[in-house]
């Protein structure tokens, strides 16, 4: 996926929205900037499939040598799939943060939070400031 096709949270999560059988599904990950800032990732906790999350809720966490950072959900809905292989291959987050580095897919039940997300250009401006 190209970052230009994604929406971003201030806290550096991205989401790709696509339709799937009538309802929208958000694929969620963390940005290349976040991965670069965190460096030295050693641990990731994924959400559980079936978990219900609201936009802004903690979806999981990622830990670097230095500190632990929560991963927030950009959307509201139900977790329908997680990237099970990712915690054992965290280097994927460096090589392909917007593709194979996806973390979870959430079936969106409430679209009201989508309007608060940033496009890539706005997000990049935030990272540069």
């Amino acid at each position: 996926m190209k970052p230009e096709d994604l929406l971003f949270l201030e806290s550096h999560e991205w989401v790709h929205i696509d339709g799937q059988g009538g309802s929208k599904v958000g694929t969620i990950g963390i940005s290349a900037f976040a991965v670069e800032q965190l460096t030295d990732l050693v641990f990731m906790e994924l959400p559980k499939v079936g978990a219900k999350v609201a936009a802004g809720d903690e979806l999981g966490e990622v830990e670097s040598v230095k500190a632990v950072s929560p991963i927030y959900s950009p959307v509201s809905g139900e977790v329908i799939e997680v990237n099970k292989d990712l915690p054992n291959q965290l280097e994927i987050l460096n090589s392909d943060p917007y593709g194979r580095g996806w973390i979870a897919k959430v079936k969106i039940t409430d679209e009201s939070s989508l309007g608060k997300l940033m496009d890539y250009i706005t997000y990049q401006k935030q990272c540069a400031s």
Binding site: T39, V42, F43, E63, V65, K66, V68
Partner: protein
């Protein structure tokens, strides 16, 4: 981030030009890392790294009563130290609370007169300076704070001695650990000591601020073929944690008595007096005080400062430092627990952000270099 009003070291520009991620550390703008903490850590364990530690406080004590003054303030005996020897010690208040951990160097002028140097933590520099001046009394000493007109570089790693010796002709390999020598490095006056805070072999170099960038640059260049890295405070922290070296503000504080720390080598109570001595004697006789331990945590998740430690569901202590460590590839922690929980091999649990994680008491240090 804003770095206004922060103190800067003589290497500030170098750090900025080489991708140093600068953070506020005890009022100093310091590099936490350049590339990756893990890479910088591994380079220190396998080759050699340079650390800018110019933020550490550097004091000089001149005059006939310098020894007596320092002796009255340190948990370790300073009187009778040989010239060019260095001792690690704690400084305590009347209640035995730890004010700082320090290095004391006994040095000698060319006139033959002794003087002392003291290296203190950046976060405690003002506190210790005030403490010294407060207890100076009518002793005849000259106290000088040289933190801002000198700099300090740590060269650490299995190839550190070779690098410094080859390039500066400083006879480092003939020097014992915890000794220092005043001589020249690249033609400028410097104090070089075989000391460090990584658990590796190496040395630390103190020189006038204006010479520090030159010394750093030349060592940096000369070390390239050895795999030399510049390393930041992040790697310094994971390295010292593996070596189970205490960090002030974590394992050491005014709420901790030296008798709890396991640093008995730095506490001399016999036939001497110093501020805090009585409180240490009392604490040593108290069987209920928490003690410092090392823990290996199951899984990759790190316990962090403040994580609570449990045994059989009952709270028995608290974590003071913890990280996933690159050399050991394990999550390790130090902390303080009830004295009946300190047995090596004992099973405890740590609350890591709401999850109880199994942990085992292990001997410290977690890592020792092969000699």
């Amino acid at each position: 981030m804003t770095t206004a009003n922060l103190l800067t070291t003589p290497l500030h520009e170098w750090h900025a030009m080489h991708g140093g991620r600068m953070v506020d550390f005890a009022g100093w703008s310091m590099p936490v890392q350049y590339s990756s903490i893990i890479e910088e850590h591994v380079a220190t364990r396998t080759a050699v790294s340079l650390f800018d530690i110019s933020h550490m406080g550097r004091f000089i004590f001149q005059g006939p009563d310098a020894e007596a003054l320092i002796e009255s303030l340190t948990t370790r005996r300073i009187a009778g130290m040989e010239v060019d020897h260095i001792r690690y010690s704690l400084v305590t208040n009347e209640d035995g609370g730890i004010l700082d951990d320090i290095l004391v160097y006994r040095l000698q002028h060319s006139s033959g007169e002794s003087f002392y140097s003291m290296v203190v933590n950046a976060s405690n520099r003002n506190k210790i300076r005030d403490w010294i001046l407060k207890h100076q009394g009518n002793r005849d000493i000259g106290f000088e704070d040289h933190t801002l007109d000198t700099g300090m570089i740590a060269v650490q790693g299995p190839r550190a001695v070779e690098l410094v010796e080859k390039r500066t002709h400083f006879p480092l390999s003939g020097m014992k650990y915890y000794t220092g020598k005043r001589s020249e490095v690249f033609g400028v006056p410097a104090l070089v000591s075989r000391t460090g805070y990584t658990g590796e072999d190496g040395c630390e170099i103190i020189a006038a601020s204006q010479h520090i960038p030159m010394i750093w640059e030349r060592l940096h260049q000369a070390g390239q073929s050895m795999g030399l890295n510049a390393a930041g405070l992040g790697a310094r922290d994971t390295l010292r944690l593996e070596a189970a070296m205490p960090l002030y503000g974590h394992e050491l504080s005014e709420d901790i008595n030296p008798a709890q720390t396991g640093l008995s080598f730095a506490i001399n109570l016999k036939d001497r007096d110093f501020i805090g001595r009585e409180a240490i004697v009392v604490a040593k006789a108290n069987p209920r005080l928490n003690q410092r331990i090392g823990l290996e945590v199951v899984g990759k998740r790190a316990a962090r400062e403040g994580s609570e430690i449990f045994r059989d569901g009952k709270r028995v202590g608290i974590v003071t430092s913890g990280s996933f460590t690159p050399t050991l590839q394990k999550s390790i922690s130090m902390g303080y627990v009830q004295p009946d929980c300190t047995t090596v091999g004992g099973e405890l649990e740590i609350d890591i952000r709401g999850n109880r994680q199994s942990a085992r008491v292990v001997a410290m240090p977690f890592y020792s270099r092969s000699r």
